[in-house]
Symmetry: C2
Amino acid sequence: MSIAIPLGYRMSGVHCGIKRNATREDCGLVVSDPPAVAAGVYTSNLVFAAPVAFDRARTPGEGFRAVAVNSGNANACTGERGLADAARMADLAVAAAGEGTGQALVLSTGIIGEFLPLEKIGAGLKRCAEQLGNNQESLVLTARSMMTTDTVHKLSGRTLEVGGRSVRIAGMAKGAAMIAPRMGTMLGLVLTDAALSPAAAQRALSSVVDDTFNCISVDGHMSTNDTVLLLANGAAGGSPLEGSEFERFCAALHEVCGELARAIPNDGEGATHVITLDVAGCASRDAARQIAQSVADSPLVKTAVAGGDPNWGRIISAAGYAGVPFDPRKIQLKVNGFLLYDSGAPAAFVAAEVSASIRDQRDTRIELTFGEGNGKIRFITTDLTAEYVRLNADYHT
Amino acid sequence: MSIAIPLGYRMSGVHCGIKRNATREDCGLVVSDPPAVAAGVYTSNLVFAAPVAFDRARTPGEGFRAVAVNSGNANACTGERGLADAARMADLAVAAAGEGTGQALVLSTGIIGEFLPLEKIGAGLKRCAEQLGNNQESLVLTARSMMTTDTVHKLSGRTLEVGGRSVRIAGMAKGAAMIAPRMGTMLGLVLTDAALSPAAAQRALSSVVDDTFNCISVDGHMSTNDTVLLLANGAAGGSPLEGSEFERFCAALHEVCGELARAIPNDGEGATHVITLDVAGCASRDAARQIAQSVADSPLVKTAVAGGDPNWGRIISAAGYAGVPFDPRKIQLKVNGFLLYDSGAPAAFVAAEVSASIRDQRDTRIELTFGEGNGKIRFITTDLTAEYVRLNADYHT
């Protein structure tokens, strides 16, 4: 997959020594030659990391020249020193970016509760600055610099024509566990050469994230570091997008964020199935979201899918404790198209057939329909396997 | 452990053919010779099983002669026919109990969505009636008749003196998974020969359950069948307990329910650790409960304990998304007595020491203290192991 790099950006990633394995990038730098507008969306966890505090205070805004990335250390739960370290990391990025004044934003992910190794990061950012590029390789190196337990880097891009000009959007993300809606341990960085006002950039990002990164989960554990940044440097030319051109930009941004969001549960730790959960017929979208989350977070639903088990009672009962009122006699449930439960009673189905359809493919589709209204949501999650347990019982020490 | 059987009760359990393994009891009968007062506490799942609907409509109340128990089939999500089946099961219990009129209550647990095999249960209840006893063996057989994936039966008892008379309380419970606060897939049956009015019985049971069975979890999945029943037949003599005598009865009931509740996570599916979570310093008890539940349900916290990993960042971050406001700079966290986090920053500790203390014992103690007020709660849960996943990926089909 080749992605058009938005104009005016150069980037790279290197190994600076935070991760033990020297073949793994852990430091990245993105430079925007024209100062860019930036918007951000952040974790709603009360215990948020220093880089989240730093970026949140500065977005939406303009005049950004750089984004510094590190993985292997989240700079979370690090108190006042952590805040100072995040600011210092931004300064190091501006210095590395070279000529021109401007601000930088920071993205950190990895272990919680250790202080950032700023010397390593400073040296890493300098080396990134020496090899900045605007090609596929530099894009991949940057995406790799934000990976933790991810097994693949996650990229997505779109090019669209607005006002007779080409505009490019390129996005990268990381995340494989500690993933819960609103939001997960994920980082996302979306670059565009479109011209956007800070307010429009924020509006575009906020509305798109709610539908994409906020509709995925792996394990229901919301992280301290979640951040999605959108940079718009206007290098494609033209005046800031408005009206129908802005709407078309938002639609393309939605596609990019949707692909990146789906890539996260698809790389979920130990996952053998990606579950697409369509909840419909609810009193509101919020009601649908709450039910989807309850079903998606149930270890019993997740293990049933892992075992190829059409155990619909676990799905129905997880909906029942979501805290949303509904009439249980109006529920309909399908798994991979097979009707399992209808109007409050079990449907006639061949368990072996449904079981085989779950076992034989990586994607599982659950459709849960209520009789309360038109509220609906699509939510994407993973199954739960012994491998997830093994990975997380062994990660830290 | 020998438990004094309350006067006026006879009971038994048999294998009637619901479970495949013929050495496992799946049908039980408790008969109270004097008609008993009964109180009940039930699942708050919107999708509740037929036996829950049946019992809830009749408690608190009086004139109960029998409780019929079956395991292997939950009679849940079975529609109108399920409701008729629950009523029929109660009738079969009254018939089996023999002479004297009265009502019966029913307890069912096991697979969701299949109809009760009433012929087997009718024959089983008859065989139970032929071998009713008021000894340890009959108590154990009855407790075993409610087991599903439990590896041990769960009993607790107390004898106390009130008004110059001995009063006995004997309780049994089941549960190993689909266990979440308010409440889990659990059944509890507590028998006493104390005299209680229906209202007092209900008041005693409701207040005690909130502190015991509602403070445990295994996997955060709330079941359709949770029920705790208290029967009080007054066979110990005397008039209904009031005032300080009632308070002393409640204290003993609390001990019995506390032991039974703790026995459930102790038998949690695949669990290698029982985690006692003391959350204190919150604005209210409800706030403490919400935080405790968020920490207890996090797969990342549970796998960290399984792996003997003092990964305090997972505990702090799980508190942060509980939806309860607090000042992160006032958190203190201890694990097994070791101070790991204090006033918003990591404490100095030797990871290997803490790790060894988790690994070397089955009990793990987490103390999480906030600076918001005096609200506190003790919550008991389990770790999450690959064995839990294996058990639940394979259970149904």
